[in-house]
């Protein structure tokens, strides 16, 4: 299973696994110009967005295999959701995982 989520934000591109572990990080020279704290903030925000997307995709994959699980159960699996971010993730999630 290699479900991931991605996000771009101000010269920062991240890819994370469900749960949020970093799978890829790309920075542009522009991203570094704003200084360390601004860069760190953008990376953290991008990670949150990407994790939300990865988690939403993983939830859908898990639900497709196992049926509906409760929010508590999914949160324990590391697939908790933040409502505001989940909407974006739903918009960008394909309907099927079958190639």
């Amino acid at each position: 299973m290699s479900i991931t989520g991605t996000a771009r934000r101000g010269g920062v591109a991240v890819e994370v696994a469900p749960g949020g572990a970093l799978r890829g990080l790309e920075l542009t020279a522009e991203a570094l110009r704003g200084g360390g704290p601004a860069l760190a903030g953008r990376i953290l925000q991008a990670v949150r967005e990407a994790a939300s997307e990865a988690n939403e995709r993983a939830r859908q994959a898990v639900t497709a295999e196992l049926g509906v699980l409760g929010d508590d159960e999914l949160t324990r699996l590391g697939l908790g959701r933040e409502e505001a971010l989940a909407e974006r993730a739903e918009d960008t999630t394909p309907d099927t995982w079958r190639a």
Binding site: G19, L22, G24, G35, G36, I43
Partner: protein, 152 residues
């Protein structure tokens, strides 16, 4: 997947886990930090970046080297967070469950001493382990799970 265990086997494993461990709550509080001289990367038990300090000197590495270093530190911190998680699991689960989880994570036992990473500055001390936030209340002390700092 390579896992040959059937649903019945997994249900049997799950049945061995006491219900009121509070293990999930304990795991969610785990944080691990990896540092090099101008960078500090903190992740949770899932390996997700939750705090990041980028010093001015780090910016001078340039975008590619900086991105690689953040990735490396986050992986390092993620491994330590998982190791902390395994300690929590060992404290809260039967050996059979612990072994199964350890196998699934392909997590090696922690080395007795952390080998200094080549690039890391001589960091004075490992990140302080999070203090147990769950108070040892009389109610759930006996069957509740409390994450304790490990005495090395």
């Amino acid at each position: 997947m390579d896992d040959e265990r059937g649903v019945d086997d997994l249900i049997e494993l799950a049945d061995e886990i006491p219900e009121s461990l509070g293990l999930s709550a304990g795991l969610s509080e785990i944080r691990a930090t990896a540092r090099s001289k101008d960078l500090s990367v903190t992740v949770d038990v899932h390996g997700m970046l939750v705090a990041l300090d980028v010093g001015e000197a780090a910016l001078e590495r340039g975008p590619d080297a900086l991105a690689a270093e953040i990735s490396r530190l986050s992986a390092e911190a993620g491994t330590r967070a998982l190791q902390q998680g395994m300690r929590a699991v060992k404290a809260g689960c039967t050996p059979a469950v612990t072994a199964a989880i350890g196998d699934a994570l392909e997590l090696e036992d922690e080395p007795a001493t952390q080998p200094p990473s080549a690039d890391a500055a001589p960091s004075p001390s490992p990140a302080p382990r999070p203090a147990p936030r769950r108070p040892a209340s009389s109610d759930d002390e006996e069957e509740g799970f409390v994450l304790k700092p490990v005495q090395d």
